[in-house]
Symmetry: C2
Subunit: 787 residues, 2 copies
């Protein structure tokens, strides 16, 4: 199962009307085969059609609904007997289904009967809808159908029952793929707000084209999201999806068929959450199209943008005044071609082009210190058009710090690999007209062969190559500029700090390190895809190991909002920094640090979460200052300013074992540690979720004796302590209770001014905890980097 | 590791002062051995003492704190070198520890240096405190010490770091038990509120007796519970514990040492949450005692009640004017003896007496339909003094419904086992002076031998015994009263509904079933113990199987509050009911139901959660109406009225795989299903958590263009739709955008009146979802009951 850019196929949705019409036109030939062949000739890849006919709906309704109607749900025992007979052996009559033959069903996506209310409030309707669903799914399997679209959930109060039924279908089938049809947001919002508006008419589906608009019933008595804002609308729809896929344990055969029937809001921020979900179909009825000045069907701009961003579309045929039916498919192809993601992939030199096939593909981070890299690996990274140019510029500017008259500037490339930095250092020396001596240190014995060859053929005496680990060998002389490329996706995660600690021995006291510093950055993310990919390793440790991955079907959950108390940082936050050279480290006689304590780090970050979502992990990025204003960055908001089109690093992904639900407007506190012992370095991570709620919502404590009132108004009657115990005649035993020298009641009081700390939370809000994750990778149990 | 009633041991806490004094008195002999011997003679079971001396504190402070002080944390490189030497090989000097010999340390509980700030705000202090802790733990292990008490966490903002360090200690030791010292609630509350009150002085520990009162620092800038109410106080302390044990993954070697130094609130409701936690020690300094009229030390009443309820105590010696030191230990023994739990256990005929050893012990529910029970099992249940009396009374009253002149009343015991109901039926017949014919049906071939013997020796012709399954055999004649005892802890969980469906064939149309109905009930619970017990089976399915268990170290999380919107039910809620005989079932020619659909059930329950807690599972209970007003109940609030001292059923426990955090004043929605196929019956369960927050706390939607304002005040400027597309010169291509026929902004509006349902939520509150569990036991995968 895959989703993502550049995989769109277009299907036509055929209605019972279409089939009936075709049936009248054909005699012995199957109307379905005729319609499929026509659809292909109109440019559609696939066909989607209902599995059952109105006859089935009629029989089911008679058996399961009408028997219950009338006075006081009085049961008609004859009809009830029919229903029980059906329940004990559910079966179709021939004219209740649209297809009977394998060749008709080949490649078809079927719509399960849309009128089945799997989340009906009535227990019996739900029960019988479940039996009918199993019957339809079983029949679809019999016809070797691969993809079915389920009727939309309509009732937040019983979505758990809907989900349980779907989970049961997934368990009872081996290969069938299920898509849940869902509106992108809740249409009942518009209906409730502007009942007489023509918008609704244009937003209403043409019922001859699509059988029923999925509508969400407003909730009944149960706790549910109140559908009060567009935010709430989107959340209500997504929240139902989240319940369903959670109850189905993120089954990869369960996907979404998003219904874009209704006009979308212009600001798509609130829709970003769908990017993290497995959208398999986008349902776009003809009624969703509008007419451009030439009379051709086009989509409203927000819908265009949403579909371009998703790029997996399913169109419904219909009629606009120009272009005929092929116009719909042509238009969708046009949207696909103009999708930024698709366009970027086709442009050489872009990360997207370079990275084709790597979207959401989890890789174990390199451990170049422990493992000797392959020549192919070096070759891949040497292709980066930006990184080495930045290094050359940094070296050039560093060399300029020395007067042109300087006799000799000693440069050392610590970890030279196959020599790309050596070559750049030579160029920088030429450009700066500085006389340099270059030492190239490399511990990979295989790469050292390449270095020998390049020295012999290209570099000559300007470069001296030294074989060995930079933490152990010595340069023949002290070094002015130490250049290294030891950075990982998270900055320090390939042990650059520890390696450079070892190399600082040969840097002169006023020498320069390139890079001079680097920082690690984190953001919370949601992604069904990455969660499932990380889980697919089956071992527990797979969910406690960071991965290198090109993030694609991902939604960053945080924004730049400060939260209700203004204490949250930006969308992506800095964890820590390493600076080289570091002067305050205690060294042993060899010049090496006595302990690695100075490379231990901890960060506690507060993120504001504007829209409800599921935390599946953390995205990790780095930024580095090479020299002066020259840097490298994979920080999504800054990389284009700092080092546009740099290819060498995908982000790091720290998974979260147990998906954590984050409500709209919540705060996420992430703790991350970089820890070390004598042999290893590893990260541990943990998160807690909080909500800021107005203090007035806190009901007075039961201890105060006042219930239901506002806390601020509850006054306690604290008795003053009585200093001397009163005598009591009944106090005869040594174990008899004392007359207690004080009695008091706790007094409800407000947060403001109560703290002893100077950073008292803002008046009027209470922060309450709502959840947490476990500690990930404790003790480096699941993942560590060898020193 | 076990905790619970009747296991209290009393320890004396020795201070450095005590040791110093003893040291002066002894010369060659170990002062520790002398003190231990003295403590034993004073009636204490154990001794608790600090592991390290002030010398260690002094050296550590000089190394790790003082080097950082002065201007701008300027490092003194000489001191820093000392610290690095220590970090690279942490070791004690002899006079830095209180014990050096194995015999001194035997049986001792040690206090780790209380001044170690494992949750300091300063990264270096925290780092060095961790090294010191490891050093102390390592030394304690060397001395073969089994139990250590850790310094209290003091800083909510860095409790995750504290917890990570503890988790690392647990991982690096194999047998050592760790207790976290914690105040029962947060003393900073009192300090902040009544700074000049004498309470504080009396509440303050005598520093010569206990080295440092664990105080909680008020939180710094991070999200945290604001310490505004006693509720908040207790939650703040418990919340820290919860973070610690969660990060330590509920390690069974991690327990609590609760500090009862401070006076407790009189209403102990808010303290109930500690019942669900692994309390190993209760720390009660002499300063917590008050003097009764005779001058003896006694505890304030709330503290008495709390300790009686917990009954695992640790006392600290001190001096009151009467009784001398032994008075403390004697007093604590007295509290133990007067604990209701301990007293009930000692009284025969109580459930507590009968159930000794069964506290929190998980048992698989019986499957009497699939498995033939052992004679011992029958014997155990036949001991119940209440259940059979209730049955006899029900049968007696049912028989009285027939006129005394009735020729013959036919009774059938369906599932007679070894015959206890047969005997009671005979008694009821005698008492009612009704002429009865009794049939006893039993499918357990082994029990049938016992029945044959009893018929021969006791019952004679008044009883006919029939061998076979009640769903298959026939009685020789129709039956007036059908009596069965097929109920499980959850009512229907031993398939009483299905078995009685089978037996209804031989009941006359106006016949009576005893029981006539039964209901299943649920309540959400928290229990570290049960969670760990259920997990200890190691298989995933262990956490998806219901268990029969005598609930002990458990806190029921719900109360009778209706929640902010008044839509929550009582603390314990009814799920569903079964009624016998049921007349509306469609039967086949044999008189058996065509399908089992009528025994499918679903319940959706809303619980109000007054105090923050962790959901670890659901407690299941049943109530049954035998006949008329005669019933059976294990419902905690009603069992004493209905069937006091009935022993046969412990509650059912439905575990939750992933502990779910529930904040104070939240709502929990539980869904539970009773499902069936042709061969099996099983339960599935799922929960979602919600918070009701005032609508004013919702920030205006980003879509509305108004940020930060109150939603109710944001007014949108909805443009009216433009019906006819405007012509545009640039619209040349068929793919060019339309001039969109409408443009609008979503309008923020309030929940009240927005719903289409008649049950509109109360004005002013929004319900937001904050979390959910997975679906448990889907498809009966982990647990089912065979039909």
């Amino acid at each position: 199962m895959s989703w993502g850019p550049a995989r769109a196929t277009f299907s036509i949705f055929l209605t019972l009307e279409d089939i009936k019409k075709a049936s009248e036109e054909t005699n012995n030939v199957s109307p379905i085969l005729k319609l499929v062949s026509e659809a292909r000739s109109k440019g559609y890849d696939n066909v989607c059609l209902p599995l059952t006919t109105d006859k089935w709906r009629q029989r089911w309704t008679e058996m399961c609904i009408q028997t219950m109607e009338g006075d006081d749900h009085k049961h008609d025992m004859v009809a009830e007997k029919r229903a029980e007979d059906w329940r004990s052996g559910p079966a179709f009559m021939k004219d209740e289904v649209t297809m009977t033959r394998l060749d008709e069903a080949e490649g078809i996506t079927v719509m399960i009967s849309e009128w089945l209310e799997l989340d009906a409030t009535d227990d019996w309707v739900r029960h019988d809808a479940e039996i009918a669903l199993r019957q339809e799914v079983s029949y679809a399997s019999y016809l070797n159908i691969q993809n079915v679209i389920l009727p939309p959930p309509r009732n937040r109060s019983h979505v758990a029952s809907y989900a349980r039924i779907v989970s049961s279908c997934l368990r009872n089938t081996a290969f069938l793929n299920f898509s849940i049809r869902l509106p992108i947001y809740n249409p009942s919002f518009l209906r409730a707000e502007t009942p007489a508006s023509p918008l609704l008419l244009s937003g209403q589906p043409d019922t001859s084209q699509s059988s029923a608009l999925p509508t969400l019933l407003l909730p009944d008595s149960a706790p549910q999201s109140i559908l009060s804002t567009p935010e709430g609308e989107v959340n209500a729809t997504w929240e139902m999806w989240d319940v369903i896929r959670s109850i189905c344990d993120y089954d990869t055969r369960l996907t979404l068929a998003l219904d874009s029937t209704l006009p979308l809001p212009k600001n798509l921020d609130v829709l970003k959450k769908w990017a993290a979900e497995p959208i398999r179909h986008i349902y776009t009825p003809a009624s969703a199209f509008i007419t451009n000045t030439k009379g051709y069907p086009v989509l409203p701009k927000p819908t265009q943008a949403f579909i371009r961003d998703s790029m997996l579309a399913k169109v419904n045929a219909g009629l606009h005044n120009r272009g005929g039916e092929p116009a719909y498919a042509q238009y969708m192809r046009y949207l696909e071609k103009t999708s930024p993601a698709v366009q970027a992939e086709q442009r050489t030199g872009t990360v997207e082009h370079f990275a084709q096939g790597y979207h959401d593909y989890l890789q174990a981070p390199l451990q170049p210190l422990m493992d000797n890299l392959q020549s192919m690996t070096y070759q891949t990274f040497e292709q980066d058009p930006v990184k080495y140019a930045k290094y050359e510029e940094a070296m050039y500017r560093a060399l300029l710090e020395w007067p042109a008259t300087t006799e000799r500037i000693v440069c050392c490339i610590a970890g030279a690999g196959r020599g790309p930095l050596v070559a750049r250092c030579l160029k920088a020396a030429e450009r700066s007209k500085r006389n340099t001596q270059i030492y190239a240190v490399e511990k990979n014995s295989n790469a050292f062969v390449t270095l020998q060859e390049r020295k012999e053929k290209e570099w000559g005496d300007r470069v001296k190559i030294l074989f060995g680990d930079m933490r152990q060998i010595n340069t023949p002389e002290p070094v002015d500029i130490l250049i290294s490329e030891l950075l990982g996706s998270f900055g320090d995660n390939e042990l650059s700090p520890e390696c450079l600690d070892g190399a600082m021995r040969f840097l002169k006291p006023d020498g320069i390190s390139i890079p001079s510093s680097y920082t690690a950055h984190l953001a919370p993310l949601s992604s069904s895809k990455l969660y499932n990919e990380a889980r697919s390793g089956h071992e527990q440790k797979c969910l406690e190991t960071p991965y290198v991955v090109l993030l694609s079907a991902v939604n960053i959950l945080s924004d730049n909002g400060g939260g209700l108390r203004g204490q949250c940082g930006p969308q992506i936050q800095e964890c820590w920094e390493f600076v080289h050279p570091r002067r305050d480290v205690v060294l042993d006689s060899r010049g090496l640090p006595l302990t690695n304590s100075h490379n231990v780090r901890h960060a506690k970050l507060n993120f504001h979460i504007p829209h409800a979502g599921i935390l599946h992990g953390l995205a990790g990025y780095f930024e580095a200052v090479l020299y002066g204003s020259i840097g490298l960055s994979i920080h999504p908001r800054r990389k284009d300013q700092v080092s546009k089109d740099m290819l060498s690093w995908f982000p790091l992904f720290f998974p979260i074992k147990e998906p954590l639900y984050l409500p709209s407007n919540s705060e996420l506190q992430v703790s991350i540690w970089r820890l070390t012992n004598e042999r290893q370095v590893w990260y541990e991570w943990h998160a807690e979720a909080f909500l800021a709620i107005p203090a007035s919502s806190i009901v007075a404590s039961p201890l105060s004796g006042v219930s239901g009132g506002r806390l601020g108004t509850s006054v306690s009657s604290a008795s003053l302590p009585i200093a001397s115990p009163l005598p009591s005649a009944s106090a005869l035993s040594p174990l008899v209770d004392a007359v207690e020298p004080f009695s008091f009641r706790f007094q409800g009081y407000h947060a403001s001014g109560a703290g002893t700390s100077s950073e008292v939370p803002e008046v009027g809000y209470d922060i309450i905890k709502i959840g947490h994750t476990s500690l990930h990778n404790p003790g480096g149990r699941s993942n560590w980097i060898g020193l």
